[in-house]
Assembly symmetry: C2
Homo-oligomer: 333 residues x 2
């Protein structure tokens, strides 16, 4: 399997983004984020997703030059409009602004409307943690799964990100409200594999581990059944309210996912607690977790983001893994 | 089944709390909260839990006169110590302070350490929504379930509350990270019933719907398997970090659940958006959800908290339902 350097990968992304009409500064940032996602083992939002973003730029769905503009605010709480710009550029701006507000007020919150897919949500949690802040952010999406008690896909999977800075790297949660992403279902379907646990319902309403049956029924399972369904609804309404933007049902009416609503929250926990106190709490938490006896000796119990950090280190040692075909396609773009 | 008036129920709770050493103002508040939980259909944190709180006061586990004291802060972010006081009193204070901060800064965040079981978390979400704020709060708990990949109960079920004010009452999510609470498992075990879906593992590590097997193994299932396990870990560390308090593993070392850590976040969305804009977004969300075709005609698709609001209205019409034995026991206390 081919390996490339992080800078080589970033430079290729950057070249293509410049060609698709992004100005220098934003091509640089967006390329770096895509390359870092690939480095961290999140190829789904690295090489996999990159052609989609470029297509959005070429079709005019994304406004290449748009910047978020402030439309309202009260102290530590601000409302911004993303102007239908490039999702990762806007989201990075949103969390950056929340961090600035946290420096001034202890915490800051930014609602961002009329923005587009932020690619890997974890990116913006890591951004906060790198700044010594707890970062909490989420986005709504187009309707992707049924609310509990119905078979109609009416709610988004609304990924939630929570990041905590720690002495050996951040704890990072980055999870959608569906048990499996559509991307994961699609990959397993192509491989002819079953899911390890039920991931949705078939057309007859039976829980199933068959990814093809779930893709056909559009009945992905929310995490925790009625619980994830309810959580997804709250994660839809809160960013819409704070940003003054759309909820999932309004996004769905557009026919494709655009003009989503996001919320970014940063808490300056390092200023509040001091780095020593912060690190001691996180280190003790991790040390205790690591005493848990694993069910399988090959699968140690891990904190959220631990596998990602290991993958990042491995990429640093051996280069960033790329799918050969995707890498060739990027170079040919 | 007996019905009592809300005021009658509150007065009984109040009488017992005064007898157990609570001063007038806090007996009044805690009695009101317990009575409202029962009215809202949350008997698990009404009559069910009340004797436990009184026992805590009598045993000295709870400091009846303690008030939260501010130990640190930065603008809209504050750190408070609960002084091992009465959980609902402290938590109500914590969200109240977060709302005050939100009035001043747009949003406010309070970390509260060395506090005790807050009973029904939804109480504090409703408190924020009644003040026109989005309320987000959660608590850590004693270890109650295994992290994903282990059979050792090392993580809390860490209930999460999100409330949004709306024109016909709030949207309210109040959910623990385990698929079923221990209380629910215990009730079904006593009734000899199975769970509708798998709620944990038996001692052999098989997923099971047998509540007795799950209580015996102490292997409750996190919502969404690995996802709820990871979310629970983040919900443990964040309040501990913001408050400077204990994480679940430290709480567990005490042998019983006390001195937990909580976080309260209020966002003054009414001031930001205006009541008209807020109500329009929530009403459109609810209207769309209600167009979802239910799988069963008897079970309409509901927004989070909708069933609770219906129960509240029904209690208003017919009186508050009480279990006959529990009501007699309260009157005899």
């Amino acid at each position: 399997m081919p390996r490339v350097s992080l800078s080589e990968l970033r430079d290729e992304f950057r070249r293509v983004l410049l060609g698709a009409g992004l100005a220098e500064e934003r091509a640089e940032l967006v390329a770096r984020l895509f390359a870092e996602n690939q480095r961290d083992g999140v190829a789904s939002h690295g090489l996999n997703r990159f052609p989609g973003l470029v297509a959005g730029l070429r079709s005019g769905d994304l406004e290449p030059g748009a910047n978020p503009t402030k439309v309202g605010g009260l102290g530590a709480l601000e409302q911004w409009d993303g102007g239908m710009g490039v999702g990762p550029w806007n989201a990075h701006y949103g969390m950056g602004r929340a961090i600035e507000l946290a420096r001034e007020h202890g915490l800051g919150c930014v609602g961002l409307r009329n923005t587009n897919h932020w690619m890997r949500g974890g990116t913006y949690g890591l951004q906060a943690a790198d700044a010594g802040c707890i970062g909490i952010c989420w986005t709504n999406t187009i309707p992707l799964m049924p609310p509990w008690g119905s078979a109609e896909a009416k709610i988004g999977n609304n990924p939630l990100v929570i990041a905590v800075p720690g002495p050996d790297g951040p704890l990072l949660l980055d999870m959608a409200m569906s048990q499996y992403s559509n991307g994961k279902l699609e990959i397993l379907r192509q491989q002819g594999k079953s899911l390890p646990i039920a991931g949705g319902f078939d057309r007859e309403g039976n829980l199933t581990t068959d990814p093809a049956a779930i893709l056909a029924s559009r009945r992905a399972l929310p995490i925790g059944y009625w619980k994830g369904s309810a959580l997804a609804m709250m994660l839809d309404t809160v960013p819409a309210l704070v940003s003054g933007g759309q909820t999932s049902h309004e996004i769905g009416r557009q026919g494709k996912e655009r003009a989503v609503s996001q919320v970014f929250l940063a808490i300056d926990v390092t200023a509040l607690r001091g780095e020593t106190g912060l690190n001691a709490t996180v280190a003790a938490f991790v040390a205790d977790l690591h005493t848990a006896q694993p069910l399988s000796p090959d699968e140690p119990v891990r904190y959220p983001g631990e596998g990602m950090l290991q993958r990042r280190q491995e990429s640093g040692r051996n280069g960033v893994w790329v799918d050969e075909k995707q890498w060739a396609a990027l170079r040919a773009m």
